[in-house]
Symmetry: D2
Subunit: 259 residues, 4 copies
């Protein structure tokens, strides 16, 4: 399937590894030039180089925390007229609700809600003028089925979900779409980390820890990052211009609810 | 119907007028002792006196911004063991999405999301211990159908919705329920104010402005504050202990969606 | 709380026992005259007599399957101008999806979807004319979180949910509201029956079977029928005229989803 | 993007024209062999011939009403081991709720709910055994935002939505996914027909009628059938195996609700 986005330009926040990198790779494969971002210099540069070499596209590297104005300006310097934006970022660690301090909330809100929205403000006027834009956020399945220990994650993320939805209604007429992917349990370094934690905390073997992660997933397996990358690429395609304001779960069919 | 809450104690944030006052009055009528709160000293005292006199309950007055630690501690001083909590607060003014500054977001998030959650942290341990709690937030119909000009309202409110939902799952076992009411277009001072704005901005007569407010409401009228007050009182009743985690729209049947 | 419906008239389908009876009792307590319906003659008459004697209201008994035209006409003969309607009926037994025959579907759709809608057609014109109507259906929590073995239940019920929602938008202007209650695990004869089945099939003791029923309920207990009855009565109240098109879960806070 | 489904086999109900044909074409382009179905012999054969010639795949033609056992058996004869199923069918005409007869409901339920489910029963065991299946239904945006005049459409369709969701949870472990597309206002013969009706009934010019159809669409245009076809093809792809139980609106960003 030709996605009709060859030679377009994309800025991908937090894309040096994991799900963000998978998104960048799916776009690069379709001939999209990408800006790779992350906080670890080596990872960012390695990913950019790798994709440029593998797919023959142009790939820039911008190191820094994408929720800050400074990094956002650098990103737009590297790519002044982005057609595609991936909103992504590392989630906070779990914390018992009663232990969450005001500062925890305001930090998480800054990173996960305010930062991304400021970036959206920066890119949408140009997208509207150029009559093409694809904004996709990697959110979390928890925005639909929250658990209190992840309040620092789903609180800000659900706020973002609402603001993006409201915004999507304004932008549709300009062929600018806004959608979210809601992943649950993908096979990234994060699940690796969590397996290590479970081995220490619960005395499991590595195999038991990995098996445990799959228990709540109806598909009986973790998601593969490239599956999310390709869903993302489809949402960025020319032919997805009539699809906006959607929250698509990538969770192995695990969500209980009808809608 | 006997709501089974006579002599219980309630703290109602932002309850000196409008929907918050209606909630206080519905509880007072059922014999609940109330703490009235608001930022305008006279309004707070007047409402407390009025309800105490009219219903023979005890009504305290705590003046201050309920999203601050200082006021929250005063509220708990006035009522150390609340059985019922109303989370309520004035919403922000509309603002074009592109005009919203970082500071607007952080202020609104502090007031509408962080502040209420800090208060919830303060009251839930006691409620769980005493095996009774009713937490109800007055949110907005917009958390389900957002418009970009109200991003400062539905962003924080939807974040709150998610955190409260996650929390409700933990608290159910202690007979502590958490629910939200989602009003749209009630006949309060706010609609009066908006009518005045429309008269000036659009050159409408008062009658035209008021008629215009009703256009989007399928019931063909504004809601009456006491209708919301009584729905609130029902959610606070002893017999509503099995009803938790719900978001109930009070919108004259106007919402488009099935769920 | 005065529900403002003294001397009104209600027809309650499938109300001779269980949740339907609890609804009838809550209305009778508020001074509403009721028509009791069910398929077991003795139960219907006993319930009608009991409520009439206990609450001093008028209670008629109409025996028959309420999804049939014949019984619907008898119900309207007993109460030609109903103000309140309870849509209720026994659900079908579980069945593996692959074992469901066409006939199973058409029977269940007739009973659970078509029958109730035909009754709604019969009563709404009068309600609109008289400018008061409260239509409430007891549906099931499964309409939001379906499991394949209950397809004969949630399929028709979800269809009904959609039609009632569409209808609620037309009726709001006439002070006719349409809402649903979505119960999960109430302490009725049905859970008794299921406990018996579990004792036989899984070799559990009665206590184990009853404990097992509570496992999935976050409140840690079954619902009490009178809790559902009172929620129903509130939805039928005069002051609930601005609340329509809602699906309220009564599930001990168990549903995973935010909305 | 390589969808990984070359040489797979698909049965597409109601695919001789409109959205169904667009789905067939998107699959054919990806190298999938298709069975075309419809009730008009010439259309079915023409579409099959056209796709076979254009894309070099095998395309069979099965004429008949796909909700009947007879046609379903013919479809499975033409393609005994389908990997992909499109559930699709013409919707009923609008009808005032009060004018809908029992027979209207039972006919529509047979066509739109029971028929498709019987077909799903026929194909899922084989899909599970072969560890690959993609079931996609073209539903309607109205299943999320129903209007009473379309009760014969959204009633059955919402019932189907629920049953398919329940089923999707069982099938995920076998790499069999079940999803729905919810279109609103695509540029097919149906909108042409409706424009003709509006010209006659409301005395509009053709241009006015077409403009009117776009008014409620936030994208400011009708959807293009090939946009739906490609979304369908993506859902059928090998890499969409972790995406199941979703209802994706293709409505130009028009739906009001967050979820």
């Amino acid at each position: 399937m030709d996605l009709g986005i060859r030679n377009r330009h994309a800025i991908l926040l937090a894309s040096s590894r994991g799900l963000g990198k998978a998104c960048a790779e799916s776009l690069a494969r379709e001939g999209v030039n990408v800006v790779i971002n992350g906080r670890t210099e080596k990872d960012v540069h390695d990913t950019a180089s790798e994709l440029a070499a593998k797919y023959g596209i142009s790939a820039s590297a911008v190191v820094g925390d994408s929720s800050t104005e400074k990094t956002q300006l650098l990103l737009l310097e590297a790519c002044p007229e982005p057609d595609i934006i991936l909103l992504n970022g590392e989630g906070p660690a779990p914390k018992f609700f009663q232990d969450i301090a005001e500062k925890d909330f305001s930090e998480s809100l800054q990173k996960t809600l305010i930062g991304p929205l400021m970036f959206v403000q920066r890119v949408t006027p140009g997208m509207c003028e150029r009559r093409f834009g694809r904004i996709v956020a990697i959110s979390s399945a928890m925005v639909k089925s929250p658990h209190s220990a992840m309040s620092l994650s789903h609180g800000p993320r659900l706020g973002l979900t609402g603001v993006l939805k409201g915004l999507s209604k304004d932008l549709a007429q300009f062929n600018v779409t806004v959608n979210q992917l809601l992943p649950e349990r993908f096979d990234t370094y994060r699940q690796e980390q969590m397996a290590q934690v479970m081995m220490q905390v619960r005395g499991m073997t590595y195999e038991e820890a990995r098996a445990d992660q799959v228990k709540s997933i109806k598909a009986g397996r973790l998601g593969r990052p490239e599956e999310l990358g390709d869903a993302f690429a489809f949402l960025c395609s020319a032919q997805a211009g009539y699809l906006s304001g959607q929250n698509i779960q990538l969770d192995g069919g695990s969500y209980e609810g009808v809608f």
